[in-house]
Symmetry: none
DNA sequence: GTGGTCTAGACCACA
DNA sequence: GTGGTCTAGACCACA
């Protein structure tokens, strides 16, 4: 999953969400070490301050912990991760249904569009 | 459909999309009068310049035509409107599937989530 | 010669020039009757006030005269017409050479471009 | 080449064309730094917003690329620049021939006028 | 009254 | 410092 940041929108919320998704997908070993800000900033192609800001938000969400001696680690609170996953999913679904509903599609049409799309492409 | 503009994001793209959806849903009679810039700006609670920027984009898309000193009208090109509707729908679906896929859900789970959501709520 | 007015520029100077060219080309019999403002406005697709404004300028240039009893007539001063023709031509040439020169073309290239263009098309 | 903006006409299209010509003439090193909006606005004696409008159009044409927080650069796409040069030249020639033709000059006369003019002045 | 242009100036994210 | 967005408000041509 590339970073694909939209330069026209604030970067740090995009980064925050990007990393949250990575954690939720289990790309980082829970309770273990996390890349450095420097590495992450470089990977995302943003300034370290921007990455810092995103990580701060992730700490506030409890997904990432800073430990003086160990450094930054991913939370090992699996319940929190699961909850985050569900709430992100809900947000995506809600936003999507709202937007596509605004176009005037009925429920059945929406399901059909999705099914069609899922068959077309490999994601 | 209220304007529901997110103050933290650029306003004109939100307005542009909002109006595009209204046109696509058929809320304006094709080929007929369109609210004035001043009226729309007031309705959306933004400055006239901001509304004008959004309308400029809609004009570039061909959805709206400007007749200096008379006012604007919605295009009567139904094919263009249908096309716009499809491309918006595609964008929403693609973005949604990408985002929700990033969380690690399988195709079946996605369909189930949507179905569940559609039953829960009346939209 | 259609009117081809550019809606993004002030109309009356365009109209003024358009009519001046018609006079210079000899489309109106010198010293004789001239279409009414109403007719001209309709032909050009503009408001009568706008046409009025353009005609006022043509009167100032001396190309058109208003006579209480006869109405508006084209001047019969052929020297003035010839002079207008030359000055318009000079303006067009000067503007053109300036603009095309700004692109970085040499004199020879300019001549070649024109010759090529003149052979291509029938004007 | 001074800016020579005509205060009676919309400024931003004039600015757009002015800068396009500069790029086409090779006054900016391709792929390299471009003056800042603020600097250009100051140089042209217009407001920053007006300059920004012109630059937006140049970006749409692909002549200029924007790198948020870094600044702008001129495209390094030489084919695009050459194409732009040709299309500008064509527009100038077409407009000129149309206008001068409207005065009633024959092809030969037009060529003669140009040649005479080119000999008179050093441009 | 309609749309278009322009200015001055504030505020923001990012590097 | 860089570009982007937004507002308030003035002024203009045209109908």
């Amino acid at each position: 999953m590339a970073w694909e940041l939209d330069d026209n929108l604030p970067l740090w919320p995009q980064i925050k969400e990007h990393i949250a998704k990575k954690i939720v997908r289990g790309e980082y070993s829970l309770g273990e070490d996390f890349p450095t800000v420097r590495a992450l900033a470089h990977e995302a192609g943003v300034n370290r301050n921007t990455m810092q800001r995103a990580l701060m938000e992730l700490e506030n969400m409890g997904l990432v912990l800073t430990n003086r001696t160990i450094g930054r680690i991913v939370t090992s609170d699996e319940a929190l991760i699961e909850e985050t996953k569900k709430s992100l999913a809900k947000k995506y679904v809600d936003d999507f249904l709202k937007e596509i509903g605004n176009l005037g599609y009925s429920r059945e049409e929406i399901i059909d569009i999705i099914k069609g799309d899922l068959q077309d492409e490999n994601r």
